[in-house]
Symmetry: C2
Subunit: 145 residues, 2 copies
């Protein structure tokens, strides 16, 4: 089920700004924050107000259509969220973000944390940082000179 169907089923309209914003995020390789989205779309000649960006992101995030991605520089950006449980890994050099799946591997850790803290775990935030293949290759090419 694509995002447009999900949006309609949730009772929201498919407006032009919403389409443009989602399309931009779908074609972006790195997370984009509200002001960056606004600037880029303006540069592309698409006329929209910054408040629409904020509202759209807020709605899409609430509906689970997009995910927050925490960049190494402290900024928070957004990228489309695929169906099911997923997280992102972000390149510390070029900010390119790629999704990886699931949380099956964390069961032991969750158990330990629950035992250790006596909290009842219900959710988690997980993200990795590292170097993407391309930046690794650049680094290795530079390292050999």
């Amino acid at each position: 089920m694509d995002w447009q169907t999900l949006l309609a089923k949730a009772g929201y309209r498919l407006s032009e700004p919403r389409k443009r914003i989602m399309k931009l995020m779908e074609t972006a390789e790195k997370p984009l924050n509200p002001l960056a989205i606004h600037r880029i779309l303006r540069e592309q000649g698409i006329h929209l107000g910054v408040v629409s960006v904020y509202r759209t992101l807020e709605l899409f995030f609430a509906l689970g259509l997009i995910s927050q991605v925490f960049q190494a520089d402290g900024l928070v950006g957004y990228l489309p969220a695929s169906f099911g449980h997923h997280h992102f890994i972000v390149c510390q050099k070029c900010q390119k973000a790629v999704e990886f799946s699931g949380s099956e591997d964390m069961r032991e850790l969750v158990q330990r944390v629950q035992t250790e803290t006596r909290y009842q775990v219900s959710d988690h935030l997980l993200q990795f940082y590292g170097l993407c293949p391309e930046c690794q290759a650049l680094l290795e090419a530079g390292g050999n000179s």
Copy 2:
């Protein structure tokens, strides 16, 4: 080694605002953001500028003396960071945050992510959300009525 020694060894001074801010975070059970820290200290009769709060948090974070804690409501707060590898679990009801240790349990996941994405993992962001013992107890007490 306590935070004061670490700060001195890094070449920074132990000013009154810095002491007050750290003390507040040390006695807080929930993460505090810059404006909350400023407000609370002002309410306690401690006169300091909001810019000192921002600068102090920035420095302490850079030195690893405090950690960012992502609250369920989307806000980011800070709490003292203990030595070594650690993360936080935050109560979704009362915001109380407790630290838990380490990342030994994540080795398998890291391996899988590296294989899956071909990224070279160097860091990660991990936080859990759930109910603290006290809120669990309150919920159970309410559930039985």
